[in-house]
C-alpha cells in the first residue's frame, strides 16, 4: 500500500475569469495531520471541494489510495474514504445523537427500513472508537458545539473515513472545547486516519499540525513540516509580506481627554460581569479575548441588542439607558456586526439602498418623502469616501467582494455620524489589502474625534490599531493594557490564552 493516502497534482481551476487555483499540489500521508492555511480567497475551499469531488478541476490529477482519478466524482471521493465536515456540520438538530451519527451510513446502504438497534450500536461503536462519551438519546440541538463536532466526526467514521477534512472547525468552540477536539484528532491519527485541518488561526495551526500547506491567491506557497515554522514565518508566508503597520498613537492633547463613554459595573448573567471601562474621544479601544469570553455580548449590550441586568452607562458624562437599537442610534452609537452577511447587510438590496438605510430620516424632502437629490448626494459622498469599488451602485450588495461589502456597512453607519463606533471583528474574511484600508479608515475616524471600540480576536490587529486594550475571559475583564505600545505580541498572546493552548497534545 502506498504511503500517500491522497496526492493532488498540479490542480488548476478558474471561475469565470478568476483563477481560484493555479497549479496546486498537496499530498497527505496516512495518519497525517495536515493543515491547509491561507487567507480568505486563497483557494482553500475550492481545493477542498475538488478533493471532495463536488467541484471539477480544470487541470491536474488526483490519486487516492494509489488509484488515479482524472474526473473525481463526489461518490468516488466518499467511497475512497474522504469525508468533509463543513463549518455548519450538516447535522439534524431535531434528531438524536445516535441517529445523526448513523443516518448517512443507512442512506448510503440504501436501506428502506430502520433498525433502531443498529442505529444505537453504530453510534456506540464509533463513539467508543474515539473514546468519547455522549448521551445517544439526546437531541443534537441540546448539546454543545463541541459535542456536535464529535457527532459529525463519528458520522464521518461510519462511512469508513480515511481522511477527514475539517473546514474551520474551531471557529465556534471555546478554548477547552478546542483542546478536546485536538485530542480527538490525535486519536484519529493513532488509528491511521488522516486529518486535513483548514484554519486561518496561526496558533492552532502551529499546535496541531505535522505538515502545513500554505496557499496564497490560488497558488501554493509551499509545504512545510511544522518545525520549520513559527508564528512570524507563517504569517509572512500566508500574506506574502511582513506586516509592519505603524502602531496607532492616541493624540491626547488634541482631544482634551473628552470622555465619550463610560461603563460602570455592567453585568449580564451568563454573559459578562462587572465590566468597567472608559472611552475617550479619539481613542481606539481594543477588546480581545477568545470566543465565548463575553466580548460580543458586551458590544451588543452597548448597542441595545442584549440588555444588561445591572450597571450604568454614561455618554458624555450623562447616565443613559440603552434598551433598544433605536436608543443606541439616538445616542449616536453605531455597531458593525461580526457577521456582515446575516446581520449587517441587506444582501439582495442595492449598494445604494444599503448605504442610506440608516439615514432615511435625514434625506426626506419637505413632503416627508425621500428626496432623490439628497439620496444621491449621500450615496455619492460615502461611496467616494470609502472607495467602494463597483461598476454600479445599483448592483446588489452580494455582488461585492468581502472588503467592499464591509465598506458598505461602514458607510452606512458613518452616515449616521456616530460618536461611538463599535466594530466587531471588522476584518474577518477580508483580504489583506482591504484590511489595511479598513484600518486606515478606522484611524482617520479616531483622529477626527470619534471614540472607537475595536473587538478583535486577532492579537496583531488589536496591537497595531488600538491605544488601549482590554482582555476579556469568561465574561470578565482580566487585563487592562493602558498603553498598547508597551506590550509585545507574544506577551499579549500569553495573556489571552496561548499558554493554555500549548498544554495539549
Amino acid at each position: 500500500m502506498a504511503k500517500e493516502l491522497l496526492e493532488v497534482k498540479n490542480i488548476s481551476k478558474a471561475y469565470t475569469g478568476v483563477q481560484a487555483l493555479d497549479n496546486v499540489s498537496i499530498s497527505i500521508k496516512r495518519g497525517e495531520i495536515h493543515c491547509l492555511v491561507g487567507e480568505n480567497g486563497s483557494g482553500k475551499s475550492t481545493l477542498t471541494k475538488i478533493i471532495a469531488g463536488v467541484v471539477k478541476a480544470d487541470e491536474g490529477e488526483i490519486i487516492i489510495n494509489g488509484r488515479f482519478y482524472q474526473n473525481l466524482h463526489a461518490i468516488d471521493s466518499i467511497r475512497e474514504g474522504i469525508q468533509v465536515i463543513y463549518q455548519d456540520l450538516s447535522l439534524f438538530p431535531n434528531l438524536s445523537v445516535a441517529e445523526n451519527i448513523s443516518l448517512n451510513q443507512m442512506i448510503e446502504r440504501k436501506s428502506k427500513l430502520i433498525s433502531w438497534k443498529d442505529v444505537t450500536n453504530t453510534a456506540r461503536t464509533e463513539l467508543k472508537n474515539i473514546r468519547e462519551k455522549l448521551d445517544l438519546g439526546e437531541k443534537v440541538e441540546d448539546i454543545s458545539m463541541a459535542s456536535r463536532q464529535i457527532v459529525a466526526i463519528c458520522r464521518a467514521l461510519t462511512q469508513g473515513a480515511k481522511l477527514i477534512i475539517m473546514d474551520e472547525p474551531t471557529s465556534a468552540l471555546t478554548k477547552t472545547e478546542i483542546d478536546s477536539l485536538f485530542s480527538v484528532i490525535l486519536d484519529l491519527k493513532r488509528k491511521g486516519i488522516s486529518t486535513l485541518f483548514i484554519s486561518h488561526k496561526i496558533s492552532e495551526v502551529l499546535e496541531i499540525s505535522e505538515k502545513v500547506t500554505i496557499l496564497r491567491d490560488g497558488r501554493k506557497v509551499g509545504e512545510y513540516s511544522i518545525d520549520e515554522l513559527d508564528n512570524d514565518k507563517l504569517i509572512f508566508l500566508m500574506t506574502g509580506k511582513k506586516i509592519a503597520y505603524p502602531r496607532f498613537k492616541y493624540k491626547e492633547k488634541e482631544h482634551h481627554e473628552k470622555m465619550l463613554l463610560e461603563v460602570r459595573d455592567l453585568s449580564k448573567r451568563g454573559n459578562f460581569e462587572n465590566v468597567n471601562f472608559k472611552l475617550r474621544s479619539g481613542e481606539i479601544l481594543g477588546i480581545t479575548g477568545l470566543l465565548g469570553s463575553g466580548r460580543t455580548e458586551l458590544a451588543l449590550s452597548l448597542f441595545g441588542l442584549n440588555k444588561a441586568d445591572s450597571g450604568e452607562i454614561y455618554i458624555d458624562g450623562k447616565q443613559v439607558k440603552i434598551n433598544s437599537t433605536q436608543d443606541a442610534v439616538k445616542l449616536r452609537i453605531s455597531y458593525l456586526p461580526e457577521d456582515r452577511l446575516s446581520q449587517g447587510l441587506f444582501i439582495e438590496q442595492s449598494i445604494s439602498n444599503n448605504i442610506i438605510i440608516t439615514i432615511l430620516r435625514k434625506i426626506l424632502n419637505r413632503l416627508r418623502l425621500i428626496s432623490n437629490i439628497k439620496r444621491e448626494n449621500s450615496i455619492n459622498k460615502w461611496s467616494k469616501e470609502l472607495e467602494i469599488k463597483t461598476p454600479s451602485l445599483e448592483a446588489a450588495a452580494q455582488s461585492l467582494s468581502g472588503g467592499n461589502q464591509q465598506r458598505v456597512v461602514l458607510a452606512r453607519w458613518l452616515a449616521t455620524n456616530p460618536k461611538v463606533f463599535i466594530l466587531d471583528c471588522p476584518t474577518i474574511g477580508i483580504d489583506i489589502a482591504s484590511k489595511s484600508n479598513i484600518y486606515s479608515i478606522i484611524r482617520d475616524l479616531a483622529n477626527a474625534g470619534m471614540g472607537i471600540i475595536l473587538i478583535s480576536d486577532e492579537i496583531p490587529e488589536a496591537l497595531q490599531n488600538c491605544n488601549r486594550i482590554l482582555v476579556m475571559s469568561k465574561g470578565r475583564i482580566v487585563k487592562k493594557i493602558d498603553d498598547a505600545s508597551s506590550i509585545t505580541e507574544d506577551e499579549l498572546f500569553n495573556i489571552v490564552g496561548k499558554k493554555e493552548l500549548n498544554k495539549v497534545g
Binding site: D88, L91, F92, N104, S111, K112, I114, L300
Partner: protein, 336 residues
C-alpha cells in the same frame, strides 16, 4: 432513571396530558355525565375525522412545510364520491373510499408537484390550492347539498357500524364506532412510516435541516411529493367518514375547519417551523380541541368562543416556539 423521567418531562405532550386530565375533572364536576364511557365513545367517533386530518397536517409540519388545502381535498373527495355513487347506483362503501382517496391523492399530488418539483413556498401554494380545489369542486361538480334521503345507504350503514355494542340499564344500546379502528389504523400506519422507514426519517431530517438532508443524500423531491399525496389520501378517508357521520353532504362543509386542525397539531407540541412533534401529541391536541369545542356550552360560553380559543392557541403556540428560538439565538448571538 432520573434522566429518563427528566426526558419524559421535557416533552410538551406530558403537560398537555395533565391539562386534559384537569380539564376533564372540572367538566365532570359541572356535569357528571361527561366522564362516562358513552360520552367517551361519542367523542372518539365525532373527532376521529379531525384526528386523521391532524395526523396528515402533523406530517407536513414535521417536514417543515404547511398545508392548508386539506379541507378542500376532503370535501372534494367526499362530494365527488357521493355523487359518483348516486349517479352509478353502486351502493358500496369501499368504492366510496376508493374514489374519495383517489381524488385526495390526485389533488395532493398537485400540491406535491408544485412544492417539490417547482419548489414553491408551501403556505402560498396550499392557500392557492385551497381556493382552487374548492372553487373547482363548486364550479364543475356542483353546489347542491345531498340530503339524507338521497344519500346511498352504504354511507348510513357505515356511519352506524360499531366494533362492539354495550347495553344501558333501560335496554337501549350504544357502541364504539368503527371510526376508532380507522383512526387507530391511520395512526399506526403513520407512526410506522415516521419511525421505521427511511422515508419517515427523511421527513424528520428535512424538517430539521433541509440543507443537511440534501447533503446526506435524501431524495427531497420524492419525500415531499409523498408527503402531500399522503395528506391527500388521509383527507380522502376523512371525507367519507364525515359524510357517513352526518348522513348529509354539503360541498360548503369542512372547508373553514383548517385552523382547528392546525391549532390541535401545534397544541400537541409540533413546532410550526418543522422538525419536532409527535403523533401522540397531535392526538392529545385533537382531544383537547374537541373537548373544548363540545363542552363550551356546558361551561356557559357560546360556541363562538371556540373560534377565539383556536386563534389564541395558534398564536400562543407560535409565540412559545419563537421565544424558544430567540433564547437559543441569544445563546449563539444571532438576532431575529
Amino acid at each position: 432513571m432520573k434522566k429518563k423521567i427528566k426526558r419524559i418531562f421535557s416533552h410538551s405532550e406530558i403537560y398537555l396530558f395533565f391539562i386534559i386530565i384537569i380539564f376533564s375533572i372540572i367538566l365532570t364536576s359541572i356535569n357528571p355525565s361527561f366522564l362516562t364511557l358513552e360520552n367517551l365513545f361519542d367523542l372518539i367517533k365525532s373527532s376521529a375525522g379531525m384526528g386523521i386530518l391532524a395526523v396528515g397536517f402533523f406530517i407536513v409540519l414535521l417536514s417543515g412545510g404547511i398545508d392548508v388545502s386539506f379541507t378542500a381535498i376532503a370535501i372534494a373527495g367526499q362530494y365527488i364520491s357521493a355523487n359518483v355513487l348516486m349517479a352509478t347506483g353502486v351502493d358500496n362503501i369501499y368504492l366510496a373510499f376508493l374514489i374519495s382517496c383517489s381524488v385526495g391523492i390526485l389533488l395532493g399530488a398537485i400540491n406535491g408537484l408544485l412544492i417539490s418539483v417547482f419548489k414553491l413556498p408551501t403556505l402560498i401554494v396550499t392557500l392557492g390550492t385551497l381556493s382552487a380545489f374548492h372553487g373547482a369542486l363548486l364550479a364543475f361538480v356542483g353546489t347542491k347539498a345531498i340530503n339524507t334521503a338521497e344519500l346511498p345507504d352504504c354511507f348510513k350503514v357505515f356511519g352506524h357500524n360499531n366494533i362492539f355494542v354495550l347495553t344501558r340499564a333501560d335496554g337501549t344500546s350504544y357502541g364504539l364506532s368503527v371510526y376508532a379502528l380507522i383512526l387507530l389504523g391511520v395512526v399506526i400506519m403513520s407512526w410506522l412510516i415516521l419511525k421505521y422507514t427511511m422515508l419517515g426519517r427523511g421527513i424528520h431530517a428535512i424538517g430539521g435541516n433541509r440543507d443537511s438532508a440534501v447533503r446526506a443524500g435524501f431524495n427531497i423531491v420524492g419525500i415531499q411529493f409523498f408527503i402531500y399525496c399522503y395528506v391527500g389520501f388521509l383527507a380522502g378517508i376523512m371525507g367519507v367518514m364525515h359524510i357517513s357521520l352526518l348522513r348529509y353532504s354539503n360541498p360548503m362543509y369542512i372547508v373553514g375547519t383548517e385552523l382547528g386542525v392546525i391549532a390541535a397539531v401545534v397544541l400537541g407540541g409540533a413546532r410550526i417551523t418543522g422538525g419536532t412533534g409527535s403523533i401522540i401529541g397531535t392526538l392529545l391536541g385533537v382531544v383537547m380541541i374537541s373537548i373544548l369545542e363540545k363542552n363550551l356550552v356546558l361551561m356557559g360560553l357560546s360556541s363562538y368562543w371556540h373560534q377565539l380559543f383556536v386563534g389564541l392557541i395558534i398564536i400562543i403556540s407560535v409565540s412559545i416556539t419563537s421565544y424558544q428560538n430567540k433564547r437559543r439565538g441569544i445563546r449563539s448571538l444571532t438576532f431575529r
